[in-house]
Structures are given as structure tokens and as C-alpha cells.
């Protein structure tokens, strides 16, 4: 276990450097000039030259050295070319906690829906309860997030006035967006749990336990669920990635000031500092999260050797 963690901690910086270099090259090659507005007035060439120098944008080499130097000495991710009153650190500091909270809430919702639907499916297959929860899961997988989000908004915020119309600030603002975002991973988790349970429940040692007199519910909760949960655990890594990148749409629909928008708009605006900053932050988070998931996986199942 310690060996695993150590290996990962050594690999992580290498992974991050590779991600950084690829992103840097791609961001540099994006067409367009972040210092101009494509429509309307273009600043005269002296001003454009001045801006390019100021931001180190005149040559990739100087940009790279300047950026890495700032990053390693001051943890400074640079200025934003699009929002010139802000620095990238500020933008991320204001957006990341919001998106992170939304992501955690969405994953909790997903686990809830998935576990409940999956367990119901195993315990009471074919009943109305099972079919309806499965129905919700299918809807979650089939409809895109902006559709589910908009429907939730119209029904609960506009018509029933039970939830605020988007925005952020209180726990109530978290309700609908986390539901919209968590529906799809929830559906996947439900399927994984159902299949996993169906698989496990048919194995020999479960039959032995049943023969020994344990109720099917007892067997489920004491033995089967732990095993069936393993695929869910390894799905949590990609689920986190989905929640983090899918938050762009939900944040747009619910007017949530998170970081998802920057992911997309920074590329469209060729805001190189913001692109690199956002990608770096997300990469660090995802790599660490995957490490945690792998460790938990090894811990739960002693048969696994991950090194």
C-alpha cells in the first residue's frame, strides 16, 4: 500500500508536466489573438505590440520561462487576458470552491440514487419501486444535462416556486443543480450495483451463507454489497471527471459562478494563462482523486495488487 502511494506520488509530477506541455503547445497553436476583439475596433499596432510584450506573448520561449518561473516561485498563475482586472489565481479561487461543492453534492446525489436503485433492484426485482427507480436512472442517462436542468428549473423554480431560479449562495441553491448533474452518474452507478449484485448473489459462497440460514437481506448487506461496490468505486474516478467537466452546462443553466465556464471560454478566447491555470488545477485534482480511489480499492479488496 505504501509502495503504491509512493509510486503514484512520484508519477504525479511527471503526469502533470506532460499535461502542462501538451496544453501549452495546444493553447499556443489556437488561432486568434486574445488581445483583440474580433469584431469592431481593433487597437492600433503599437498598442498590440505593447500588450504582447507586457504579457510575454511575443515568443513561446519567453512565455514558457516566465510562466514556469512565476508558478514555481510565487504560485502565481498569471493575469487573465480576457478579464483583465483579475488574476488567474483570483478567478480560480472564486470559482473552484463553487464547482467543487457542486461536484461533491452531485456525486453524493449520484451515490444515493445509484445505491438505492441498485439495492431495490436486487431486493425487489420487478416491483413498481424497482421499475420506477430504474426509470429515473434511464431518464438520467438519456437526457442531456441542459434538458434535465432546464426542466427542473421550469418545474420547481418557476411553476412550483420551491427552489430559487439559479444563482448561488445558500444550501437551497445547491438542490436542483446537483440533482441535474448527479442524475447521469447515478444511473451508471445504479446499473453497476444491480449487475454487480446479481453477479455476486449467484456465487457459491453466497449460496452457502443462504444455506446456513442467513436471510437474503442479511446476505445482501453483510457480504454482497461490499463486493458489488467495487466497480462503483472504480467508476468514481471517471464520475468525478464527468462531474467536473459536465458542470459547465449545469453552471450555465443555473447561473452558478463556478469554474466550468472557464474551461470552455478560456479556449474560445485564447486566454492562455487561464487555460493553463484551469487545466493544471483540474489535473492535480483528478490525479489525486484517482489515487485516493485506487487506494480505497486496494484497501477494500485485499486480493488486489495495484503495484
Amino acid at each position: 500500500m505504501v509502495h503504491l502511494i509512493l509510486m503514484r506520488l512520484i508519477q504525479t509530477p511527471l503526469i502533470l508536466v506532460a499535461i502542462f506541455m501538451i496544453t501549452f503547445v495546444c493553447a499556443w497553436l489556437i488561432p486568434g489573438d486574445p488581445l483583440e476583439r474580433p469584431e469592431g475596433q481593433r487597437p492600433p499596432i503599437e498598442i498590440r505590440v505593447a500588450m504582447a510584450k507586457q504579457y510575454n506573448l511575443d515568443s513561446p520561449g519567453s512565455f514558457l520561462t516566465g510562466y514556469v518561473h512565476n508558478l514555481l516561485t510565487k504560485f502565481d498563475l498569471g493575469p487573465s487576458l480576457q478579464y483583465r482586472d483579475q488574476r488567474v489565481n483570483e478567478i480560480i479561487a472564486s470559482g473552484l470552491p463553487v464547482s467543487a461543492l457542486l461536484g461533491v453534492a452531485a456525486l453524493l446525489v449520484a451515490l444515493h440514487i445509484g445505491l438505492v436503485a441498485g439495492v431495490l433492484g436486487a431486493l425487489r426485482p420487478g416491483t413498481i419501486l424497482d421499475l420506477s427507480s430504474l426509470g429515473v436512472a434511464v431518464v438520467g442517462v438519456s437526457l442531456p444535462t441542459f434538458v434535465t436542468g432546464s426542466i427542473l428549473l421550469v418545474v420547481f423554480a418557476n411553476l412550483l416556486q420551491l427552489a430559487p431560479v439559479g444563482g448561488w449562495g445558500t444550501a437551497r441553491h445547491l438542490m436542483l443543480p446537483s440533482l441535474a448533474l448527479g442524475l447521469l452518474p447515478g444511473a451508471y452507478i445504479a446499473r453497476l450495483v444491480r449487475l454487480g449484485l446479481a453477479d455476486v448473489m449467484a456465487s457459491d459462497y453466497i449460496r452457502t451463507a443462504l444455506a446456513k440460514g442467513l436471510s437474503s437481506r442479511g446476505v445482501l448487506f453483510k457480504h454482497a454489497l461490499k463486493v458489488a461496490f467495487l466497480p462503483v468505486l472504480s467508476y468514481l474516478g471517471p464520475a468525478a471527471a464527468f462531474v467536473v467537466t459536465g458542470s459547465f452546462v449545469v453552471e450555465m443553466v443555473f447561473a452558478i459562478p463556478g469554474m466550468g465556464e472557464h474551461f470552455v471560454n478560456a479556449v474560445l478566447n485564447k486566454d492562455q494563462f487561464l487555460i493553463l491555470g484551469v487545466v493544471l488545477v483540474y489535473s492535480v485534482l483528478l490525479v489525486l482523486f484517482n489515487l485516493v480511489v485506487d487506494v480505497a480499492y486496494a484497501w477494500l479488496d485485499p486480493r488486489i495488487e495495484l503495484t
Binding site: P43, I47, L115
Partner: protein, 583 residues
Amino acid sequence: MRWLLLAILVIDLVIVAWLFTGTQSQQEADFIFVCGTAHRRLDPQRMSWGIDLRIAECLFDPLTRIKLPEMVVEPAAAERWQVSEDGRTYTFYIRSNARWSNGDPVKASDFVYAWRRALMPDLVADYSQLLWVIDGAERFHIWRQRQLMEYAAGEPDPEIAKQFYHDALDKFDKWVAVRAQGDKTLVVKLVRPVHYFLQLCAFGTYMPVHQLTVESQTTIDRHSGRLVQDPSWTNPRKLVCNGPYVLSRRRFKRDLLMVANPHYWNRAAMGNQSILELIIQNPANALMLYEMGQVHWLPDIPSSGAIAADLLDQRREDVHIAAAAGTYFYNFNCKSTLLDGSDNPLADPRVRRALAMGIDRPSIVENITRLQQRPAKSFTPFGAIPGFDPPREAGVSFDPRRARSLLAEAGYDSIHGGKQLKGLSILYNTGSGHERIAQAIKRTWEHELGVIVKLEGQEVASFGERLKNHDFTIARAGWFGDYRDPTTFLDKFRTGNGNNDAAYSNLAFDRLMQDASSELHPIKRMAILRQAESLMLLEQPIAPIYQYVNFQMFKKDHVKNMFPNPWNYRRLELVEVNSVAGD
């Protein structure tokens, strides 16, 4: 495990019950509106976007303001002014009771300082060119630019950087003709008479800033020798304002709260005491808030897209459409050869004019854009500039027969089996509804003129690149005026102008524009500009299509003193909101 699951279910129910009950939040300000994008910057000298200027007008008080609905210049921070006989020297007298939000009096030197920082290339102000009407401004700007390049070529040395900066200040005092005479008198001398100068003084770049606080947050960067502004100077705690409001709270991409400035000289005339701006990018979300009465004004509903057109079709009383001071048009590449070296079929003005005649403008505004836009026959918008009547007789309307005969004259007669017009494509940026207009125009050209063009939709940044490099034959474009004078539209077509995407060059046009700039008599000057535009329109470097509209929503009975106008002038401090019980 079973009890665990049960416990989880119970906790869930409790949470849901708690979340679903709860009071609606109180209205936080007198006047609430929605802004469609996050602000780029709140520094008045460095801003160029309309949404930023909207806030700057609330936080800072310029020398003059535009009175609504008459749209005439009225005194603001300056209580009166004198203009010399030759129209070149303006003397402004600043109000004795004009104060900053920290109690300091507003001084003429605050304006000099602000204009100086706009003129220095260090801070890279988008609109610093608006200040080049001041005598010596352009010379100073270019000189400082060269000075900085000289510094960058040598070894970085903070002492030298400081010395260079002080030299620059000396040069500014010597060359640039703006002086503070005492605390309350500001004298400006212009390069030539500029009839719209008082309008320019109302613009963001000309607004004052509190010299002491801004200067204390400016440093000289030892590597580049440039002034560097700490961007946090516009944070609510630090910002010192002389406008109707102070910045109470600003949350990036969330909201912006402004509260009445106790030291504002015209506090008594204000119609509201606080303004809350919510930043909501999804127009459907903004519309929902508006319908629920939580928001009073929607100025940023996008004109492209179905929402605006559908709302207009419903004939609602709270939808306000005003013809804007902007034109939607197509650029024609006027160079003799294209970027790849091949001959440019559009180099012949007859071909360009024929294509322009082949655009069915009324059909486009009726069926595609659907916001009652006016088809455009000129480039300067009709009815937007007082004293200027755009030469619409030089423009074209939909006339396929004449277009075909013009094409035949130019040697292309594909309908009768003659030479085909080849190699043309319409370049546009995707995602804002331009594709439908392009498709309609392509079809009309094919059916009526026998001209086949390709459609090239590109993402906006690569579109901008190609436009700049003249790597197109036909490209879609839009242009809005910055001040109420034809030059804000016509300067674009001067040879070598940075915004001359069509690469149009006509020395006679350049000469006329030059003559206009030295013409003292306003009526004669407008006549010369009219002649210039007429000349340009006849050569058809562009095909004007329609005049933009401003689309806003507010309920006239509740929201008073809101006057939609082509230039998007607003006086938010005078807006009164009467909330009706039960909203």
C-alpha cells in the same frame, strides 16, 4: 448495513424538507438588472465594452453627461465651460461641490492625471485614440512607446526606469495641451475643431480618477520600464468614486452592488439609492427572473437567437426595440489579388455592386432576424447622427435584373452560358445566427444571379484572424459607432486604417476625409463627409444589410426614466422603480 441505509433515507427526507421550506430572499436594491457577461475591467481608462461603461457611468462623474431623452450634452462634474472662437480651446470649470467618495474635492488635476494614464501606452487603453484629438497627444503616445522600446533593448535598471518615467511626465507637460489652472479649472486645446468633443468628454476614457489612490497602486516594472497598475484598485474597499454610486460589493461573475454616494453633488436628483447588477449568462434564466418580478430591466437579451424574436412576436408592452447606431454588413475583399496570389474577381467594383444588389434585405429582416430591423442602404445608420443625412441614394436595394446586367458588363454571364464567377466564399463566425443569413444570401445569388459561393463558418477567434489578414473574399461584419459623428463610421475606410478589413483604398476618399477634418464650418463639414460616404458606397467595398436594433425589456409603468435610444445612452442614477404590492 440495513440500518445505515434506513438512516440515510431518513436524513435525506429531513434535508429535502428543510431545503424546500424557506423564505424567499428580500430584494436587495432599488433597481435590479441582469448583465449578460462578466465584466472585463472596471478601470475607466482601460475599458471598451458597453457593459463595463455602463457601470463606469455610475461610479465616475465625467465633465459632461448626455441628457435623456433629448440626447444633448449637459454639465456633470463641470458646471460650465467656454469654447474659444476657433473651436479649439475648451475651458471647463469644475463644480465647487464635486467630491470624491472619501470627501476629497474633485480637482482639475484628477482629469489631467486620468487622461495622461490613458495616453501612456503602458496601460494599454483600448480607446486611447479617442484622446488623440488633444493637441500633442498622439506625438506623446508614440514618443513614450519608442522610449519603452529603447528601455526594453537595454539592461533592466529600476533607476533608469524611473528616470525614463519622469522624462515622460516632463514631455507630457510640455507637449500635451491639457492643463489644470488651479484646482477647479481645466483647459484643453485640440488639434483641430472637433464638434463632438463635449460628447467625448462624457465617455469612459475621459472620466477622472482619484489621483492619490490610483497613483499609490501604480508601480514601475523594472523589466519593461512600464507603469503597472495593480488591478485590485477597483475593489470595493479601495475604489474611490466621484459618481452617483460607490461600489459596495463585487463578486466575480455573480453580481455587483452599488450604493448611493453620499458625496455626489447631484444626490437630490437621483431616482434610486442602490443598484444591483446580476451577472447571468443564460438568457432563459434571466427571463425567468424577470417574469417572476425579481429583476426590473433586461438590457442584454441577445438579438440573435429565438428568444428575442419570439418575445417580439408576442407583442408584449414591456419589449422595447430601438434602432441602434450600428450596421450589419458584408465585407468584400478589394485587393487586386487574394492571399494565395490568384486574381481577385471582386477587385472590379461592378461585380461587388452586382452582388450587393443581389441581397434581398427585406426578406432577411422579415424572415430571419425578425426584430423589425431597417434594411440598410448606407453604412452610417439612418436617423442616428443629428445633422447628417446618410447618402442612401448611393446605396443599393434588391434589384436582380440590374445586378445581372452589371455582371454581364463585367464579363460574367453564367445564366446565358458565359463566364462563371468563381472562387467566392462567405466567411462568418459560427454560433450567432450568421449562418442563416449567409445561407439565404447564397441561395438568392444562385437563383437570381447564377453566382455560386461557398459558405465558410469558423469559430470566432480564427474568423478574426482571417479577417485581419484579408484571407477571405466575402466576410460578414458588424460595426457600432462610438460617438455621434459620421467619422466613427467612415474613418474605417481610410487607406491603411487598422479596421479596414475590406482593404479599401481610394485616395479621393482619403482626401475628402482629410478636408473634412480641417473644415471649420459644421454644415460644410457634414456635406464633405456625406460626399465621402457617397463615393465609398458607389465603389461598394461593403454591402450594408441591415441596421442593428437594441432589444430591452422593462415595464414602463414600474420603471421610469428609461429612454431606449440608438446610442445606448443611459442615466441609471435617474431611474425610478415603483414596485407594485404583490410583485
